[in-house]
Amino acid sequence: MRETIAIAVKDLRLLLRDKAGFFFVFFFPLLIAIFFGTLFVNEGRQTNRLRVFVIDEDDTAASRSFVGRLKGAPELDARPASRAEALNRVRRGEGTAYIAVLRGFGEGNVFGDNPPAVELGVDPSRKAEQGLLEGALMKYASERLSELFTDPAKSMSSLQQSREQVLNNPNMSAADREKVASFLGDLSSVMSRAPQGQSGGQPQGKFEPLRIQNADVQVHWEGPPSSYDVTFPQGVMWGILGCAAAFGISLVTERTRGTLVRLRMAPIGRGQILAGKALACFMTMVGLSVTLLAFGRLVFGVRPDSLPKLALALIAVGLCFVGIMMLLSVLGRTEQAAGGIGWAVLLVMSMLGGGMLPLFFMPKWLQAVSHFSPVKWGILAMEGAMWRGFSYTEMLLPCAILLAIGTVCFAAGERAFKWLE
């Protein structure tokens, strides 16, 4: 074990002496986290169907009709769910938002103070899509009204109901009540004379087809995250990718400059040499993660939901990428080849895993492929511990996948490692 630690300390010392390498391992990820954290505040765009969970708490003909519209919406992938399930799945990042059609939706008055209302809870990491969702909801609420007014019987009933609510509204002045009630009366007369199927047009005055009550998803767990809570795990991931690439190359460097031969001639085993490398890589990964997150805490108020869970996530991510580092180290015979191949593999992993571009920007098939990227699971594990409020059971899936990938890669790398070229 002492020999393994000696190798690890030597590798850390080599990393510290390499100023450019040190910068890219420790400071570059920090810049990435800050840059994208700033960039993604209220920014974004949409190219795919947004997965939303819909809760029909009203369960009236009107609410069912509205939910039906959402299900048929081309820009939405609306799935029915209970409130608890919807909240939980959004929290775990399985959907962009939940939409709760609130009680009283069917009786809502589009001309009064009590319009049909829904509650919208958006995943904090996907705030960029909130505007799109609100627009879509307003669109389908308006369509519902448009349909309402093409049916004279329904519209007459609705207008009559609205007129009565206006006349009884104590918040309106008498003059306003009279004007709006008179207008609704006139409109009702026109509608009664209109042939069936003809649009009644849009009423004037106060008109609110849908009231959207935004619910902060994160209020259900401690501390409202900022965009930095989203970008700092990504920054950590970048740092870890940098470590994996750097240490993958360092193993090739040992081989090309002959020090590996010297290590092999020493009275230590092959396992100790690889373990030393792995330990140095792991320590660097943990060190940079802690540094980045501490910086995020001090400067940007990034506060993990659970430190033990974060530690669990970082250990799983670290072990996974140590294994990947081991595999990368056998892919190239020269430092240039190892560096090129390593970064190419890591960049693809990062791209597929949402490290470069949010997953929702990608086509569905690529999103499916992202399940194979450890970057996705790494970010999910860290987010789960930082602000998604994962339970230990929920942490199990990403952590187990990370450990499995790490183990397979380490075993494959160790097996393929060639001692003498």
Partner: protein, 295 residues
């Protein structure tokens, strides 16, 4: 003295025993039935041209490469394939194997730790080793700032930091200036004085002649001859050559009795100068292989 005791005493005098060693790389026969014994406390030269199989032999002898067949034994310890046995071996590879970003002290200390040394013993050993190779004053400088000769000496220091009984120095003077080469020679001779066994591979006959107690001449993986320098010269060196300069030009006469031949030449024509050339390892190699060492 009984046979068993005699055998034990003889064995104790042997440090390294290589028996019928074979190693091939594809179609290339790198080591071909090599058998030799190296005595404790001697500087043994493994002399041969580039590609003769010297480095392969060393790599097998230190446990880095497995042999196709044959055995290597560090007498009293066992096979170098055994990790524990490698504690008694030190190797200075032909290719400089150093961490340029680290200081000399950090390099030596690291390999000392790898060899299992700790604490005060390690510190003392690092200090004495760096002093031995005259790098103690520069111990805090990064190796990247060192000259080629200094790096060679550091390469040697790393090989001996754990005070091994048996040292393999594989072409330790490649690419160094004459001054550094002389410094390395002095260190090798000092090691012999300390009672260390040194296996010194080289293709420079001058080095072998200056440093080695015995020399094994190797070519195409086969041991062609093994003896002391004098023994090799006597057996394989051929005759001395009398070189005489007369008004007619230079005359070279192989001779067993230089005085008789010199008188004969003097009688034939007036000599302006003469000298006697003795056989050297180059001529030994020429006689054994039909070609020069540097061919």
């Amino acid at each position: 003295m009984s046979c068993a005791v005699l055998s034990c005493v003889v064995s104790f005098k042997i440090m390294l025993r290589i028996s019928n060693l074979h190693k091939t790389f594809g179609d290339i026969r790198a080591v071909d039935g090599l058998t030799l014994e190296i005595k404790r406390g001697e500087v043994f030269g493994l002399l041969g041209p580039n590609g003769a199989g010297k480095t392969t032999t060393v790599n097998i002898a230190v446990g880095l490469l497995p042999a196709d067949s044959g055995t290597v034994e560090i007498v009293g310890h066992g096979s170098p394939a055994d990790r524990a046995v490698r504690r008694v071996i030190g190797v200075a590879p032909q290719v400089l194997s150093l961490y340029d970003e680290l200081t000399a002290e950090e390099n030596v200390a690291f390999f000392g730790r790898i060899a299992g040394m700790r604490g005060a013993l390690l510190r003392e050993q690092v200090k004495s080793t760096l002093q031995f190779v005259d790098l103690y004053d520069r111990r805090g400088d990064a190796v990247s700032t060192y000259s080629g000769g200094m790096k060679r000496r550091l390469n040697l220091a790393i090989a001996m930091v754990h005070d091994p009984e048996l040292l393999f120095l594989d072409e330790p003077t490649v690419g160094v200036d004459p001054q550094s080469r002389n410094a390395i020679f002095e260190k090798v001779l000092a090691l012999r004085e300390r009672g260390r066994t040194v296996v010194y591979t080289t293709h420079y006959m001058e080095e072998a002649q200056r440093l080695c107690d015995r020399v094994g001449i190797i070519d195409h993986g086969r041991l062609l001859a093994l003896d002391t320098i004098d023994g090799l010269l006597r057996t394989h060196g051929g005759q001395k050559v009398l070189v005489a300069q007369s008004l007619q030009g230079e005359v070279r006469v192989p001779t067993d009795d230089p005085l008789v031949d010199l008188n004969r030449l003097q009688a034939e024509s007036r000599l302006l100068s003469f000298r006697l050339e003795g056989p050297d390892l180059e001529s030994v190699f020429l006689k054994l292989t039909g070609r020069l060492l540097r061919d």
